[in-house]
């Protein structure tokens, strides 16, 4: 353990988990927090609560900006518990020197997504930070706290999953990670793929209307593979099995990943949901979800099994087997 916090501990994989565990041990721990879902369920109030910070750099990328990302990300975390988003509170930190017009544009993106969903931004805080460096790039950070009403008798969660439940993925993976990564590492060479940043509450509404949804997660930092690993660890006594040929990856994302040595399964998505579904409801659910513009690519990619408990396993297109594990460190482009 180093004496200082390192960037790798923010990558969303194993090291982040360890850091969070250590933080919890300092007295924060409680059963609600320990559930480990994307939003907390406050039983007495029938409400889901979540908070997230957005630090994406650069703040503008093909397909959106940090404002849109903040709104969608928070909506999606609530949607993962089956909660309708109702109120947001935001905290904005902007570095001195950040272009004014860009900040207004970001606020506009955020508010557009909120108003499209009837979300009231009930509270907020704004801070300007003194600039740190002499470089040209200035930072802006947004934190959002979201509150939603859980529709249905209880919130969705991986503890409800049973053997044989199917795993549905709503579209192709890795777009957001590739979009931002291309800007960061691709320089002037690549046409940046577009982020899939999108709000998924409407899609979840359709899914829950059909019924049979046991759990949901949006695959953000750490990508699809990380969600599958976490599900395998938390689904009581079950393992996860997915089939590579069912997982769609677009050509641009694949090309970017090949060039960088990245794995599309670990690249962030910001508009994709993974659902654990009762098998008898799967077909109906797929039809319903495919009606949604964000769900047109919905497919069954795998299932929960009794074999290899606590392990997520990928069956490759060639009939080989690969165990998915938590990302042990930040992904950095390979050399040659």
């Amino acid at each position: 353990m180093e004496d200082v916090i390192t960037l790798a501990e923010g990558s969303g994989g194993l090291l982040t988990h360890r850091l969070v565990e250590a933080l919890l041990r300092s007295g924060l721990s409680n059963p609600i927090l320990e559930e480990g879902e994307d939003a907390a369920y406050l039983k007495e109030l029938g409400i889901a609560l979540t908070v997230d910070s957005f630090t994406v750099s650069p703040p503008f990328f093909p397909g959106g900006d940090i404002g849109k990302l903040a709104a969608c990300g928070t909506i999606n975390d609530l949607a993962c518990r089956g909660a309708r988003p109702l109120y947001f509170a935001y905290a904005l930190l902007v570095e001195e020197g950040f272009p004014r017009e860009q900040l207004m544009s970001i606020a506009g993106s955020f508010s557009k997504v909120c108003s499209e969903h009837g979300i009231l931004v009930a509270a907020g805080d704004t801070k300007v930070l003194p600039s740190k460096g002499t470089g040209e790039v200035r930072d802006v950070f947004v934190s959002v706290c979201g509150l939603g009403k859980v529709e249905g008798a209880k919130p969705l969660g991986v503890r409800a999953v049973e053997e044989g439940d199917l795993i549905v993925l709503t579209g192709d993976v890795g777009r957001h990670g590739a979009a931002v990564g291309a800007l960061r590492f691709g320089g002037s060479l690549l046409n940046a793929p577009e982020s899939d940043c999108a709000p998924l509450w409407r899609l979840m509404e359709r899914a829950m209307e059909v019924g049979g949804v046991r759990a949901a997660r949006d695959c953000t930092r750490g990508g699809l593979a990380t969600v599958l690993c976490e599900w395998a660890l938390r689904a009581r006594g079950l393992g996860v099995e997915v089939w590579e040929e069912r997982i769609a990856v677009s050509d641009e994302v694949q090309a970017f990943c090949d060039a960088m040595g990245f794995d599309p399964l670990y690249m962030a998505c910001e508009g994709r949901m993974v659902l654990a579904v009762e098998p008898r409801k799967a077909e109906e659910l797929l039809s319903a979800v495919r009606e949604d513009p964000e769900g047109m690519g919905a497919t069954v990619i795998g299932r929960f099994v009794a074999e290899h408990p606590r392990r997520a396993v990928l069956r490759t297109s060639y009939g080989g087997v690969r165990v998915l594990d938590m990302l042990p460190y930040e992904m950095l482009p390979r050399i040659c």
Binding site: V4, L7, A8, H308, T316, Y318, G319, D325, P328
Partner: protein, 370 residues
């Protein structure tokens, strides 16, 4: 992936099986490229090979073969004031003597920046007044980009840009492997990207030293299986050949422009390799007018890390030569794993140990049947 590709792979698997049975003995095929190591694991290649065909990983991960003294050198630059160390990402976490890495140096305040290209380095050096040291790591694949940077630096008369060339040449390492009496590699899958630059011609003289089947492959399972089939066919016929199945990218002559750049800026020099020790003419050093760009003199009399001090128990060097499997190293999975690596083979995203750990072998360690 197209469904006809799956049929193609099935036929290849069957062909490889036939050839292995014809041959009637165990064979060891070495892939010499970190990207091949990863591609093999990602595609579950080992599970598709018959029992008698063993695929082992070689010294094709540039970060892994960077010698300890070179790692310590890189980290020493980060301690100099008013200086930016620019590096390709994969070097960031490699532990130097004493456990510090460039990542940790950065966390503690050193200006260490990850770059995706030498273009970025040039832009930053033009824009900022600090001194910039670029760590040139990689084989002949990335060396041309470093050569370009060197030329630009001279052309533009930059006085704040320096290059620490840690580039290595692949062919001398292959020579060393061929010359090793203990090694007994039956065939090589040659690196794809290096071959794009150097062309097949670069390997011809290896066939004169010790004729062993060698085949360049691209970076997916069908390509690697095709190369293995070619190697086995050569063994069955008793006529080793040098060939390529990576047709769309690799030719006999390679890339003339890249080779010219290398010729102009670098000359082969002796260099230290992890696992191999000092190999003659295996590194690339700045020459002639480009010598003044060398970063090493910036360190003056600064004391570097212990350098050759081997990390207690780490078998990275033996793994790189294909003599030891990662899983045979006593530290593997215990004291050494990706989030707390002892050696570079576990740190690098294309390191053999890292690949074994992350992807498992389909059975055994994970208890999962193929």
């Amino acid at each position: 992936m197209a469904t006809d590709s799956k049929g193609f792979v099935e036929r290849l698997v069957s062909r490889v099986g036939e050839l292995a049975r014809s041959l009637g003995r165990r064979v060891k095929v070495m892939e010499v490229c970190g990207t091949h190591t990863v591609a093999a694991f990602r595609g579950g290649l080992r599970g598709l090979l018959p029992d008698g065909v063993e695929l082992i990983s070689g010294p094709g991960c540039p970060v892994c073969v960077t010698a300890q003294e070179e790692v310590d050198l890189s980290i020493a630059f980060s301690r100099l004031g008013d200086l930016v160390v620019c590096t390709y990402g994969d070097m960031l976490k490699v532990p130097g003597s004493g456990g510090i890495s460039l990542a940790l140096a950065r966390a503690r305040g050193a200006d260490v920046r990850v770059v995706g290209s030498t273009e970025e380095v040039l832009r930053m050096a033009l824009r900022e007044g600090k001194r910039f040291v670029f760590l040139g790591v990689g084989f002949e694949t990335t060396a041309p980009a470093t050569a370009w940077l060197a030329k630009e630096a001279l052309k533009l008369g930059l006085s704040n840009l320096f290059i620490c060339s840690l580039h290595k040449r692949v062919v001398p390492a292959l020579e060393a492997l061929l010359a090793d009496p203990d090694l007994a590699i039956d065939g090589f899958i040659l690196p794809g990207h290096v071959s794009v630059v150097l062309g097949l011609k670069a390997y011809r003289r290896l066939m004169e030293i010790k004729p062993v089947p060698m085949c360049v492959a691209g970076f997916d399972v069908p390509q690697m299986l095709s190369a293995i089939a070619v190697i086995l066919r050569d063994l069955v016929r008793g006529s080793p050949s040098l060939s390529s199945v990576y047709r769309r990218a690799v030719g006999e002559e390679g890339n003339g422009l890249a080779q010219a750049l290398l010729e102009e800026v670098f000359e082969p020099c002796d260099a230290p390799w992890r696992g191999f020790g000092r190999l003659p003419l295996s590194g690339l050093c700045l020459k002639g007018p480009y010598e003044r760009l060398r970063a090493e003199p910036l360190l003056g009399d600064a004391v570097l890390g212990a350098g050759e001090e081997p990390m207690e128990g780490c078998l990275c060097g033996e793994v790189l030569k294909g003599k030891v499997r990662p899983t045979d190293c006593p530290l593997f999975g215990r004291a050494c794993h990706p989030s707390s690596p002892v050696g570079p083979c576990m740190v690098s995203s294309e390191g053999s140990c890292a690949a074994h750990y992350r992807f498992g072998d389909g059975m055994g360690r994970w208890g999962v049947r193929a």
